[in-house]
């Protein structure tokens, strides 16, 4: 190599690397777009299943409730959600508290979201869009319409690629996960027994729902 080449060699190499990186990035977009389509399909399928359960011809309140709970059990990532909803208290909680919390929280979620099945009339829902919000994270936008009322915007946050799990539901800008995290934080910090108090309350409330 001549002296001038040596001087500019790093520059060329850097440019080559940058070019290769850009090529790699732009070639990632088709994969992202495919992911968004899959995410939309996942939510669409889930919605259809839920509507089918609620509007089945000989469905009883019990069958509706258990059907919806089964659907939720397989489509929500309870471990991820449980860890997130405890926030900073997850790190300070003992293993015993954590082991007690996750199943109690799962039970509480399932019961609280299906306790009003008798009021779940057929609603219309439509997917209005989706985007990727990070590595293996997607948001799917939907609109849920009840008759004679203006449609409600509900976004589902999903984790995964190919196969997905729901990690949050955002209704008109209000994230249920964020709200619940605030709620649990309050319950933990306002009682000297902390996470134990939360676990007790979850257990007690689940029985009533």
């Amino acid at each position: 190599m001549t002296i001038s080449m040596k001087k500019y060699f790093p520059f060329f190499v850097r440019t080559l690397f940058i070019a290769a990186f850009i090529a790699l990035c732009t070639s990632m977009n088709p994969a992202q777009a495919a992911g968004e389509e899959k995410a939309k399909a996942f939510v669409e399928e889930l919605g259809n299943k839920a509507v089918a359960i609620v509007s089945a011809p000989n469905a009883t309140d019990d069958s509706k409730r258990s059907g919806l709970m089964d659907l939720m059990k397989t489509s929500i990532d309870f471990d991820w959600v449980g860890k997130f909803v405890l926030g900073r208290h997850w790190r300070t909680a003992t293993d015993e508290q954590k082991k007690r919390f996750i199943p109690l929280y799962r039970d509480f979620l399932l019961k609280s979201y299906t306790s009003r099945v008798q009021e779940y009339t057929t609603v219309s829902f439509r997917i209005t869009g989706a985007e990727s919000t990070g590595d293996k994270e997607y948001v799917v936008h939907t609109e849920i319409g009840k008759k004679n009322e203006s449609p409600v915007k509900v976004d589902y946050r999903l984790l995964g690629s190919g196969k997905f799990k729901i990690i949050d539901m955002v209704v008109e800008g209000v994230s249920l996960l964020t709200t619940q995290r605030s709620e649990f934080n309050s319950v933990i910090t306002r009682d000297s027994r902390g996470v134990d108090n939360l676990n007790d309350l979850l257990e007690q409330r689940s029985k009533e729902l």
Binding site: S115, G173, N185, S186, L198, L201
Partner: protein, 240 residues
């Protein structure tokens, strides 16, 4: 009733107001404890807010919710919708002004157009004529305008009777009152009646939601706070 009743009913109303004032002043002593910043929600007045929250819960349970439930069951659905349309229409001028100040000319014109159409062809706003033809808009208030210009929410506030708010939005509410053309050249009775009607219809609209919150939440105060602050933040972010 307040202004024209006989002496004993006037005395009753006065007594009711005084006991409410006493209950609220009991709340004022509660804020001698240190402040807290909860999970991203700025709530330095939490003890005071919780006290007012409890006060609101009692007043709601005793008076407001029963009235709202009565309204909801007794009034035919079309009449309820007509009342809501009428009240929403009255709120249009303030919305137009705020959309304009936010620099959203399109939204300002759409809201103005809706107001003109509904007030005339919609018979005083009772029929949502414009909405039937697909002309929809978002309502804007001064709190949202402040928010658009970068003003943060400030401390979370629970206002007596009115409920969740924050410092910025409360100031905005006062400003909206002064910029509302319908508060000029109208009588106090009319304004009080309108405020009462708005409160009642809003309460009737959210009965199911608030019932759900009280049924499932482990700490309703925090659920309302978190939900309200997120909702306002989203309203400020969204444009038509």
């Amino acid at each position: 009733m307040i202004f024209t009743g006989n002496n004993s009913s006037k005395r009753f109303i006065a007594a009711a107001f005084m006991s409410a004032a006493l209950a609220l002043s009991a709340c004022a002593e509660k804020n001698s404890e240190p402040v807290m910043y909860q999970n991203g929600d700025y709530d330095p007045l939490e003890p005071l807010n919780r006290c007012i929250f409890k006060f609101n819960y009692v007043v709601d349970g005793v008076l407001i919710k029963p009235l709202a439930e009565l309204y909801r069951t007794v009034t035919p659905k079309p009449v309820q919708r007509g009342v809501s349309n009428f009240l929403d229409n009255l709120a249009s001028p303030v919305s137009v002004a705020n959309s304009a100040v936010q620099g959203n000319g399109d939204q300002a014109f759409t809201t103005l157009w809706r107001f003109l159409l509904n007030s005339t062809l919609g018979v005083g706003g009772v029929f949502d004529f414009a909405g039937y033809y697909g002309i929809h808009s978002r309502s804007e208030d001064l709190g949202q305008t402040f928010g658009r210009y970068g003003v943060g929410p400030g401390p979370y506030l629970v206002l007596p009777i009115i409920g969740p708010s924050n410092f910025r939005d409360s100031v905005g509410m006062v400003g909206d009152w002064f910029t509302d053309p319908f508060n000029y050249y109208t009588t106090g009775y009319w304004q009080a009646g309108r405020t009462g009607a708005v409160g009642l219809t809003k309460r009737a609209d959210n009965i199911d939601l608030t019932d759900e919150i009280y049924r499932t939440s482990l700490d309703p105060y925090t659920t309302f706070r978190s939900g309200y602050l997120q909702y306002r933040k989203n309203e400020i972010k969204l444009r038509n």
